[in-house]
Subunit: 266 residues, 2 copies
């Protein structure tokens, strides 16, 4: 694929697929920038670069790269004793995908899982929208999101689905990590009972075990089978008149809450 | 201006400038959607709608509307006893502007201040990117951001600038709301001393007074004069290899921390 944009190419040159980078094309001005020092660059016109990468948003540089180096689902779940994994259930817009990957990388997530369908690929547009963060992040494609959540739970993770619904209705709900629900959970979580109401996003205790955060598409939210496979649904409080946060804003608020609980800044 | 996109038009019809809405054009399919019931709509082809609004992202609907109804800076600062105001210092990308406005509206902010320059206008693209949230949010244009911060401080607000820098360097810094610094602050805040290092974003106590959160442009961050006019610089922890969060992700993480401290979900 042809990557484009300054940060996308910069991070690709120092990221997980650095060895796969082939030809690099840059305008004369961009080729003089310090980060391209030592890189063999074909001086090209902006028009030629746009023709190579098929986008006018190239910022004067594009590069040939191998396909995106996906990892296996296992690799996400085995990354450290308390992995933090983001699962995107039908988040297909490359802006949202890229933006969430950037936040996940900044928050030190173990990785991101996306469904194994063509629409959800890590495209050059998503690479650019992530400011190159995908080059350092582990991303796995999973055949079936609900099955992946089962696998994660078998590996000891707790799965939280971010509901598009406001947390207001459920503000007095219990945390799934409280003593009672932990006890009932041992007897078999998600045993066919209907989906619970969401609890506030800051109610769970995110420490002491792996955490999987599942985010649904804007508009439709989580699919029922995916919501059912979660241990708990969580929601952010909404104080305004519009009905939901953007999915990438929700990701940022929740991931930083998790990071904070886990001692991200102490 | 011609607004376009489903949520942008929907929220405009029920928001602060509802009375200014004139002609509405929609495709036959969109015109049948429940939210347009009772609205006089010109049935149009997608091509005609694109010609009216100048964008292919119209989702089958566009509407004539009056100019964006900006409020005065005073109105932002006098909105309740403990206003929460977001200031965007040179955040010009309509996607970021719209996305931050959406988050601000969801978090119940008093309003948003943007510089009084053509590039920072609330354009139809920003309205769409906000999912229509700007129609319910108070937005003021201010001549000079640093002067607005002085005005906010005179009105009793604390001004926090979100630094692009990681909080890691400064993790043991004191909060400006701690007893000692509050005492020194009484003697004169920002008295010409050089800008301080940022403190972790969750170190300040955001309760008990108005809060102004200043966000800078991606890449360059806050301008020095604006940073200097802040009471404190704050930063989110960064655990990855990319150098900064996106500005709209940072806005979401910080605003929800403030909301949480203020009892947003208790």
């Amino acid at each position: 694929m042809i990557l484009y944009g300054r940060n996308a190419v910069l991070e690709a040159l120092r990221g997980r697929r650095a060895k796969s980078i082939g030809e690099v094309w840059a305008t004369q001005a961009t080729a003089r920038e310090p980060w391209l020092r030592g890189v063999r660059v074909h001086a090209s016109s902006a028009t030629d670069i746009e023709r190579h990468c098929g986008s006018s948003a190239h910022q004067g540089v594009c590069a040939q790269a191998g396909g995106y180096p996906y990892v296996s689902a296992d690799e996400l779940l085995l990354a450290g004793p308390e992995p933090l994994v983001v699962v995107l259930d039908e988040v297909q817009d490359p802006q949202n995908l890229g933006s969430i990957c950037r936040t996940a990388e900044c928050a030190g997530c173990s990785g991101v899982a996306i469904p194994e369908r063509r629409a959800d690929e890590v495209t050059p547009a998503a690479c650019k929208a992530s400011a190159g963060a995908v080059e350092h992040l582990r991303i796995a494609r999973v055949r079936n999101v609900a099955d992946f959540l089962e696998q994660a739970r078998a590996a000891g993770c707790w799965c939280y689905g971010a509901s598009a619904e406001s947390a207001e209705r459920a503000r007095n709900s219990r945390s799934p990590r409280s003593a009672e629900s932990a006890a009932s959970a041992c007897g078999g979580r998600n045993d066919g009972t209907p989906a619970r109401a969401p609890i506030p996003y800051d109610a769970p205790d995110y420490r002491g075990a792996g955490v999987v955060l599942v985010l649904g598409s804007e508009g439709r939210g989580l699919r029922p089978r995916v919501a059912k496979a979660c241990d708990e649904l969580i929601a952010l409080p909404l104080r305004g008149r519009v009905e939901s946060l953007g999915v990438s804003a929700a990701a940022a608020a929740i991931l930083y809450e998790i990071l904070q609980q886990r001692g991200g800044d102490t």
